[in-house]
Symmetry: C2
Amino acid sequence: MHVLPIPPDLRALPTPCLLLDEARMGRNIDRLRGRLRTAGVGFSPHLKTARCLEVARRLMTGPHGPATVATLGEAEAAAAGGITRLTYAVGIAPDKLERVTVLRRRGTDIAVLLDSVEQARAVAAAGDPADPVPALVEIDCDGHRSGVRPGDADLLAAIARALTPGGRLGGVLTHAGESYEARGRAALEAAAENERRSVVLAADVLRQAGQACPVVSVGSTPTAHFAKSFEGVTEVRAGAFVFFDLVQAGIGVCGLEDIALSVLATVIGRNREKGRVIVDAGWTALSSDRGTATQAVDRGFGLVCDASGRLLPGLTVTALNQEHGLVTGPGAGPWGGPDFPIGTRLRILPSHACATAAQHDRYHVIDAAGAVVAEWPRFGGW
Amino acid sequence: MHVLPIPPDLRALPTPCLLLDEARMGRNIDRLRGRLRTAGVGFSPHLKTARCLEVARRLMTGPHGPATVATLGEAEAAAAGGITRLTYAVGIAPDKLERVTVLRRRGTDIAVLLDSVEQARAVAAAGDPADPVPALVEIDCDGHRSGVRPGDADLLAAIARALTPGGRLGGVLTHAGESYEARGRAALEAAAENERRSVVLAADVLRQAGQACPVVSVGSTPTAHFAKSFEGVTEVRAGAFVFFDLVQAGIGVCGLEDIALSVLATVIGRNREKGRVIVDAGWTALSSDRGTATQAVDRGFGLVCDASGRLLPGLTVTALNQEHGLVTGPGAGPWGGPDFPIGTRLRILPSHACATAAQHDRYHVIDAAGAVVAEWPRFGGW
C-alpha cells in the first residue's frame, strides 16, 4: 500500500498527538451555520466537543455567545474567555447551583436544565430573586435519556411554578438522542421533525398555562443537518459537527473527507505473519469508543490514513490496549496484511470525535498541506 | 434500596470525581508484594495504572525504583520524582530515542523494549556507546500482541548483535496478555507458567548464543497472582492490581471488596417509569471501557455503591453519554427500578481501573470511614 511522504511538520511532532485540519473544520462550520442562517433560526454551538476557545470563536455567531456547555468546568473556562451567554445543558444537581450563581454574579448569563420539581425547588432556593436563574425544562422527545414528556401539562406547569423566586422559566430544550440510531434520509428527517414538534408542543403547553417560554431549543448533529423545518424553534445546538467522525459518517451526516480530527501515530511494531502493525496510539489517545459497532459498517476504533491524510483503504484499528493500537486490513505484507516500516507515521480517523478529543490537552492545527499553523489548548474538567 | 448516610467529606466534593480507598490499596499492595517477596523474585511495578508519585512510592521496593512505565511522559514525570530505575515497556519508536538518551544523561537508568532488528539498529545509532541503552527484547509468549517467538534463535541473536554500539542487551520481557481471557484457577496457572517458560526459554537461547541476559521479566496482574513458579525470572511487572477493578474481579484475581477505586457521582435525573436514574458520571468520568462484556457476568460500565461504599446489589451503569450515566437494576421505584432522590451521591466501581483513572487529574484519597485524607495529583501524557 503506497504511503505519501510525510509533511515535515508532522515528522517533528511527538506521537501520539491530536491533529485538527483547520480547512475541513471551517467547511463543517460554514455548512451548518449557512444552513441555520438560511432557516432563520438561532445557533448555540455545543462546546463539549472542542472544549477550546479558539474553536468556540469560530463556531459562535457572536463574540460572547450564545453557546452550550456540558459541565460547569466548561462554563467557567468559557466565561473566563469572554463567552457570557451560556446554556448548561446537563440536568442540574442541587450542589452545583452555587457555582451557577457565582457565574451569574460575575456577569455570565447562564441557564440551567432540569426535568423535575425537586430540581426546580432547588433552583428556587439557591438563586437570587433579584436575578433569577433561567431554567430550561428538558423535554423527552424520543425516550432516549431524560426529560418531561411534551404533553405532560401538569408536570410542566408544576416545574415552572416551583422555580419562583430564585429561578424563572427560560424555556424548553430537547435532544434527539435517538437520531443516532436513524438510518437513511427519511428516518433522519423524521427524527428531526419529531424533535421539533415535541419541543414546540411543550412550549405551547406551557404558554397555554400562562408561562412565558422564550427559548425553544433543539439539538443533535444529525437532526441539525436533516431538519426540513425549524418552525417554532428559537435555537439549534450541535457539537460533533465541528470535527465530524466515523459515527457521523456512518449515519450519513458527513463523508470521510469531512472528518477534521485525526490522531497522529507511529508504527512501533509489525507482525507480518499476523498481517498487522502496531502503532503507539492506544485507548489513552483514541478512547475506547466503539460507536460504529452497531452501524452497518463497523470501523473498529478508527480508520487509518497515511501522514498526508490520504485514506489507506480497508485499514482499521481493530484492537486497543493502553498505549498500543493494532492495525489490520489488506496490504503488501507477505500474508496480505499491512506492513509499514518501524517509524512510519499514520493518521487515525476517530470513531467518536468528542471522546478522542477528550483524551488530549491540545490541538495541533494543520493546513491542507500538513503544515502546523497553531497549537490550541483544550479546556475541560467538571 | 437502603442507602447509608453520606460521609460529610464526600458531600463536600464536586462530582464526578475519583476516590481512592487507601486501606484497600494498601491491602492489594501488601498481598502482591508479600507473594513476590516469598517467591524471592524482584518487582517492577507498572506505574501506568496509577500515574501518581504518591502511589508509586507505596508500590516500589525501593525509593528510586525499579518501576515500569508505558510512555516517556510517565518516565519523565517519574524521573522528576526521583524514580531513576525504569523500564519503558512499550516498543520503542526511533523518534523517541532522543528523549531516552536525555533521561539517561540526567541520571535515569531507563531501559527500552523492542522486537525487531530495525529498532535495534535505531538504538545502536542513537545511544551513547559510553553508556549504551539497555534494550529488552519483547517475547511473544501467547500471540497476544507483539514480540519475538521465544525459540526464534536467529532473530533473537540478530537483534542482540544489532544493538552495538549505542545499545546493549538488557534482557528479555514478556506480557501474558491472553491471561485476561483465562477462566478458572487452572487456566490462570497455565497462562502464568506459559509466560514464565517462554521468557526463560528466550533467555536461554540468547545465553547459548553468547549473550548476557541479566533481566528476565514477566508481567500481568492475573499471572503475577496465579504463578506457581518464578524460576528463572528476575522481575515481575504488574499495574492494575494496585486498584483492581471489575475485569480483574471477573477473572477471579480479586473480590469486589478489594476494588480501591471508585467514581463519586450525583443523581441528576430519575425516570420511574423506565426504572432508572441518571448520574453525572458519563464516559468523561468512567471511560467507555466495557472490559467485562466478554466475561461470564457483564458489569456494563460499572457497579453502583452508595456513598459509604456499600454495594447496591444489581445496580449497574448500563449506558454512558459524555456527561450522563444511566443506572438500572432492581429497586424500590414503582416499576421496580432504582429511585433515588435528586442529589443522592453514589459511587461507581470501574470496569477497568487504568482507563477510569486516566480520565481524572487527581485522586481524592479516603479512609475506610469516607474521610478525605489527601489529594494526590496524577501525572500523564506521552
